[in-house]
Amino acid sequence: MSVSRQKAPAVSLTNKIFSGQKITEHLWMVPLACGVAGWEIATRLNLFPGSHLPTFSSVLAVFFVSIQDPAFLLRIAHSFLTLICGLVLAFSIALPTAFVAGSNNGFDGTMTPLVMLFGALPDLSFLPLLVLWFGAGNAAAITMAAVAAFFPIYFTLREGTRNIPRELFEVTSVFKADRFSTFTKMVLPALSPYMFSGLRLAYDFDWEIIIAVEIATRMTGIGSFIQGTVSTGSMANGFAAILAIALVAITVDRVFFRSLESWTRKWA
């Protein structure tokens, strides 16, 4: 009897701890909800001029209308594709350079200080030059996104290459792997955790770059759309666009990068 009495509270205690964990996991929703509620109340009470800050409910209403508008979706798609092109371009240059730098000290000594030098400069300062060379269009935006993405991708991949155990290269040699399969079946999987975190950083960073480029050059995209809503006074549309970007950015982050990371977590 006394044993079962002692056991009963122990079980409920673990239950409490587990449910407690769940609560802390979702705790971020509380300040978010408070913020949204505060926004709604403040705008309803006319604490802000409506032309500067629309009510949250009106933003939501405009948002649901906007996402049914093909032109609006096309603008988001355009910005998103520009970003992806920049990422792919940066990755395809960074992968071979970072791999060689990570495995060859001589090349590393020449390449890495240069990358650091350019990385230390504010990336957007190149924008006027790029616009001069390529015109205010996709080419300049993609190049800008690639320049900004190069830095995090290069450094994570270089670090990853340095961390590949020498022994694994010996294993590929002993089992007579050719260069191609050494790269695809040993180097790439070994680099994948670094690759994913570098790409994720670059992806987050590139959203800022793309929006800034679009605002500055007024080229097609969701950034210039937001800029337009300010000049036409349709602020609810601007906020709806920001909401849409946030959703795209978070969805890709959660769905794409999380699934890649859960794959590496299985073995790493």
Partner: protein, 278 residues
């Protein structure tokens, strides 16, 4: 009779910036087909370098290694290797790791699966096929390494300190199993180790290397019956002999260093004396 693997005056220098490191000096010995040879020597003497040269991973500065009479200049498909830190690919499952060698030889998928499963069974890892290396203990990882080496059906298996990263009890069990594998497969084994008991327990022949630059100090045939008894008087006797040889080497090295330092002190003293005005 020609040896299965022959080392003929293998010498190795490493060039680093302004210093030259003399790792191996005219190392010559043979390994017969089906023989189990253990290479022992003081730590840092170049044992692993020697094994890498036999594997074709590194090339000698002069001299040559011959496998079945042919000079080894690159890794051979019939020479396989077991690594000290296991050398498993963490992103591959146990089965996929064992399949690796056959995959590189472009063996059909079914075949490499069947062969790999057979060798996993041989090393006692049936049921672990779909686990990742991080889920295994050190001893189990090395079993995977051994299965991977065997799966390509090599004639020679090179082992680089294969039991030194494993706890002693597990290592002992693995050594017994390797002895059995050696007997059953009839393959040639070359093991580099710093563990004398391990060498005496496994080897048909022990090659004792000197300190750097490593030379062959002695080649000892071990005619003891298997399974070997560590308490056997001959075992203990041989252990003492080799230990003695290695201690002698270590003392020589220390003495050499001491002399060199004394020379340096002396020459420094002379130079100072010359500089001093009279």
């Amino acid at each position: 009779m020609e040896s299965h693997v022959e080392l003929d005056n293998v010498t190795k220098f490493y060039q680093s910036q302004e210093r030259q490191l003399h790792a191996l000096h005219e190392v010559t010995f043979g390994v017969d087909r089906g023989e189990f040879v253990c290479i022992v020597g003081p730590s840092g003497c170049g044992k692993s370098t020697l094994l890498k040269i036999i594997a074709g991973l590194d090339e000698p500065s002069s001299g040559e290694v011959r496998f079945k009479g042919k000079i080894v200049q690159e890794p051979q498909s019939k020479i396989s290797m077991v690594f000290q830190a296991f050398g498993l690919f963490p992103w591959r499952t146990v089965l996929e790791n064992v399949e690796y060698g056959l995959e590189m030889q472009k063996a059909p998928k079914n075949e490499r699966r069947d062969v790999s499963k057979r060798y996993l069974e041989m090393v006692g890892l049936s049921g672990y096929e779909h686990m990742y290396p991080k889920q295994l203990s050190g001893g189990m990882k090395q079993r995977v390494g051994i299965a991977r080496a065997l799966a390509v059906d090599p004639e020679v298996i090179l082992m680089d300190e294969a039991f030194s990263a494993i706890d002693e009890v597990t290592a002992e069990v693995l050594r017994e199993e390797v002895t059995t594998l050696h007997r059953e497969t009839g393959k040639t084994f070359v093991l580099v180790t710093h563990n004398l008991s391990e060498a005496l327990e496994l080897a048909d022949k022990v090659v004792v290397l000197s300190s750097r630059p490593a030379k062959v100090k002695k080649v000892l045939p071990i005619a003891l019956e298997r399974p070997r008894d560590r308490a056997h008087s001959t075992f203990i006797h041989m252990h003492t002999d080799i230990l003695h040889l290695l201690k002698e080497e270590l003392e020589n090295t220390l003495l050499r260093h001491k002399l060199r330092n004394m020379d340096e002190v002396k020459s420094l003293h002379d130079m100072e004396a010359e500089d001093r005005p009279k």
